[in-house]
Symmetry: C2
């Protein structure tokens, strides 16, 4: 399908917006009237700029408060419309969005509205343009697409069509299912917006909290499927009012917008195929290589220098990781414990080294084990993420990789039976045929990334599109100096879990602004164990420093849960935190002290199918860490 976006969705001047929109891959654009008003040039100049870029102006919008008015007002509104039709001719677009009247003095009379929309249709016909009528969720009289369609259908004029906007339908919990019954050629335009489910006034929600498909909570695939079934052949166009996007870098936001539409098309196609719709219905929708069915962590790679390598290797040793191999051509060491593999990269003049120069000790790469690495890579690259190729030595494996939003690398790894494994190919392995030491840790449970607040939505979209991960709703956690916005994503089977934390406290806000924080990436890695109560004392005996939890926390636990004194005492003695879900699943977890002010490790034990991350305890941890930093 054609892909379009409204200029209001991204930041910048009109020329910056148009350039970024084209660069992102969109074919068309909606000109939001304010962007034209602020532009110091004629509408014809805008047309010329768009033409030069190869961008089609799909729509001019919005035209407000036309319908349900007094006869005198109608005359003025028609005069106003004609002036806008002139602007449209100059812009070179044939379509204008007319939204339902929100004025308190709207005359709520369908037959009057039909008459007046008929007059508008005739004026549009005379001007050779098409008016599209849209129900605003907060319209005075017309709030739903069904009502708007009833009026448009009654006018029955080729120069008046219906405009659909997913937000206006889904924000009211209205079903989009009747869209499929509207003749596609009568749908003048389709706007797409996602949004987090928020309990607030719908107008405020719409004006400030919309987001791109895949970043919010709406079922947009079903909405879009109805549009496709109706036979609509026009563009899908993003119209996103979002305070964050208004302040975010123009090109990044535009690129996210484009890939969010590809993702929506993929989901819509899947839904239509599931419903066994005819092939021609889905033909125009983007087809991407399928997301990997199974994803696991192959390894996490840290950028280190010699000092931090010594520190981290020391900690890993105390956590019973063994040094499992040395890279054949680089200053790179492999550590393993259970199914967890950690790579420390101190190679000079490498990507890792550049990353270290910028971020210090940090997660410079994550390698994901998949069934078909090139297939997985093609999917990620197809969504517009930049491919990366590093230097490799002879006989070493070439790993396809894309860059994450912070510039770190995401490798895809597969293994072929009877061929050397990645580790065998690239590393001189220690004691390769000997028994693997069995320690108390099982695997990487989850990785927690600290990201700038302005990049949180970009990260969510990255993990959803490139990897096909599922996103959980966001949560807010207080820290002593602000709030942390947290959102967890996971592979469908839960083998890979990534929690994104965006701090809005004043320290990180400043660090972010100073670019000392942006993309620092790692905050902590959690390893799972089957028995935290025996594992922790071992680690402590070996010298792993565990973050001390205030005693008051345990007094409150005792008041909140019926826990045995023995268990409580064991938790208290080991600084283990506790959470319980609604189904009785339990989570025991402890944190190490911080290694370098912003990096630490976590040991977790999940019982009874507990599926979260102990979010209830995050504030206790943040406060304890803040206290330790003093």
């Amino acid at each position: 399908m054609q892909r379009s976006i409204a200029t209001v969705s991204i930041s910048g001047t009109l020329v910056e917006k148009l350039s970024a929109i084209r660069a992102a891959g969109f074919e068309g654009v909606e000109i939001f009237e304010n962007d034209l008003l602020y532009f110091d040039g004629s509408p014809a100049d805008v047309r010329r700029i768009a033409d030069d870029l190869g961008l089609k102006i799909m729509l001019f919008q919005p035209f407000r408060d036309f319908d349900g008015v007094s006869p005198e007002r109608l005359e003025r509104n028609l005069d106003r419309a004609k002036r806008k039709f002139d602007v449209m001719h100059e812009l070179g677009t044939d379509r204008i969005l007319v939204c339902s009247n929100v004025s308190p003095d709207t005359i709520c009379d369908d037959s009057l509205m039909i008459d007046q929309l008929g007059a508008l249709a005739r004026a549009a016909e005379a001007a050779g343009v098409l008016a599209g009528y849209e129900a605003l969720a907060w319209g005075r009289h017309v709030k739903t697409y069904r009502h708007a369609w009833k009026l448009v259908d009654a006018v029955n004029h080729p120069n008046l069509g219906l405009v659909l906007d997913s937000f206006h339908t889904l924000s009211l919990n209205d079903t989009p299912d009747a869209i499929a019954d509207i003749p596609g050629e009568r749908i003048a335009f389709v706007q797409i917006a996602d949004a987090p489910k928020l309990a607030m006034d719908v107008l405020e929600w719409s004006r400030h909290y919309r987001c791109f498909p895949g970043q919010g909570d709406f079922d947009l695939a079903n909405f879009t499927a109805q549009v496709v079934k109706a036979g609509y052949k026009g563009p899908l166009s993003l119209e996103i009012f979002n305070d964050g996007f208004r302040a975010a870098p123009t090109t990044i936001t535009a690129a996210d917008g484009h890939r969010s539409l590809l993702f929506l098309e993929e989901q819509t196609r899947a839904l239509l195929e599931e419903q066994q719709q005819p092939r021609k219905t889905t033909g125009g929708l983007y087809r991407s290589p399928a997301a990997p069915a199974h994803v696991g962590y192959q390894f996490l790679e840290f950028a280190v220098d010699h000092t931090t390598r010594t520190q981290l290797a020391d900690w890993l040793g105390k956590l019973r990781f063994r040094q499992a191999g040395q890279h054949r051509s680089k200053d790179v060491t492999l550590y393993q414990h259970g199914a967890a593999s950690i790579v420390l990269n101190a190679e000079p003049d490498s990507f890792a080294n550049a990353f270290f120069q910028q971020h210090g000790l940090s997660l410079c790469a994550s390698a994901f084990r998949v069934d078909d690495a090139s297939h997985a890579f093609e999917r990620a690259a197809g969504f517009g993420y930049a491919p990366f190729s590093g230097q490799i030595g002879p006989n070493e494996r070439v790993l396809p990789a894309v860059q994450a939003p912070d510039g770190s690398l995401n490798y895809f790894v597969d293994e072929t039976p009877d061929q050397p494994t990645l580790f065998e190919a690239d590393f001189v392995l220690t004691d390769v045929n000997g028994p693997t030491e069995v320690g108390p840790l099982e695997r990487i449970d989850h990785v927690c990334l600290s990201v700038p607040a302005s990049a949180l939505d970009t990260w969510v979209l990255f993990l959803r599109t490139a990897f096909g991960f599922l996103a959980e709703p966001g949560v807010l956690v207080p820290d002593p100096y602000g709030l942390v916005r947290s959102r967890a994503l996971r592979s469908p089977d839960g083998s890979v879990r990534i929690a994104l934390n965006a701090s809005v406290d004043r320290h990180t806000a400043v660090a972010e602004a100073l670019h000392t924080y942006h993309g620092s990436g790692l905050n902590h890695v959690a390893f799972s164990t089957g028995d935290i109560f025996s594992a922790l004392p071992e680690f402590v005996a070996d010298g792993v420093p565990i973050l001390r939890i205030p005693r008051n926390y345990y007094d409150d636990l005792a008041a909140r849960y019926a826990l045995s004194d023995t268990l409580l005492e064991a938790m208290r003695a080991n600084n283990i935190l506790y959470d319980r879900d609604e189904r009785g699943g339990e989570f025991f977890h402890a944190y190490t002290e911080q290694l370098d002010q912003r990096f630490f490790l976590e040991i977790v034990e999940r019982r009874g199918g507990y599926d979260g991350y102990g979010a209830a305890n995050a504030a206790v941890r943040l406060a304890a860490q803040a206290q330790r930093r003093k």
Copy 2:
């Protein structure tokens, strides 16, 4: 009255909070349970720290979901309560806040709740403490203070009282008038919070958007008056959940909290006196010197160096300001036009010079003409704003001054009949008895200050408390790279108007973090004229550069308003912007180009009682300026 604040209202660790609360002047504190949980010490340690500071722990809170439960749950809840009573003994406080149950499985039965609250009262009696029951606005069954009081009254036990919170009452548009009929000794505690009127879910609103009295839209004076009339003798305690406060500097927020309570007491006293309540009723309320009845601009003082003085003097000259005097002892020059006086201060080793070093060309002082300067100063100082005394020469006037939130000075000036005026005393005036040149400008219409987003509420409170100014609701204005939050304040008769703009765009966020922006203060000064259409061409002829407005703006004006072609053409030719209010008042205004990237001037003409600032045009101006900066 005693003044208290909940620890949740400000940022920091518990110890930081307690210190800041005491330093701000509070007598007591509510310990919010999470702050205790995060504190690595015993409740007795907290008591000792508070004792050492001379701070009384007024309340421990919250205790949730006690009432309307099954018998088994009741037993557990009573056990939970007893554990919390133990904590209270350690903390050395006798009061706990019990809030109405929000659980979906609450048993909505008043007589059951009365029984259960009775059991709680007896447990409290046994422990020697007082439980206070509070209706949450989003309680499952009990949502209003009247309902809560009905239950507490029925229990009729000395160890169960009522807790009031202004937010829970006023957020529901409930009237507080029945509070006066509740026996004061049955009111266990009173919490105070203001909030902007927002159309959103009340729980979200409460958790994130509360603010200090005077910063929001609630009628707190009436609420507090009812509490006073009831005969309540306990503390007024601020309980503010605010995302901004959580990230703001601890000491500033605590100080704002304290002065906001003084301000509330002053307003409450005024209301009670107006209602001719007996003197003993108002005796405990803070009495401040009254705010000045009339305030005008005496002068605005800019910190300049020789280069920027030359630039600014050149602009002022082109705007027909005359050089009216030279300071007797300092390198300070006075410019006047109509009733507008501007002072350029280039004195080395002065406050102005220090301000210039930090902020560049900036507004380093505002002088306000009042009837009684020492009275006005005492009021401002009484609200805790820091007094300032500069160096003065022989026979020059000592001006009382306080520091504004950005560190700039606010002078108070009065004049005594038959004595030299301030300007006569401090300046060698030019042509002092000659005719004052009559130019097209009348006076300073308003001053627009750019403030950091985190300081906007602090500024609002400063102007409301120290000066008694009135605040208008905030508005949001888009700029090409983000949003500007704008709020206007004015003296009661409108002679002084100050618009505060807090940019949330990415450029200023960074500048703010780098401290190159904080306190830069001035954004622009607007001068009024009686005839902008004749004044502007004169200024342009003299070389004043006027900001060019996009032509599309005028095409849209033509579509929106029935304006004559002549008027439209005159506006277009002079780059004059237009706004109209609902009563037909009109606003014509034009901006100069920027003098140094962030400072410019505005010429305005108000017609027909127009009382705003052309907020509808701010986005056009911001876009035009952004375009010019490229």
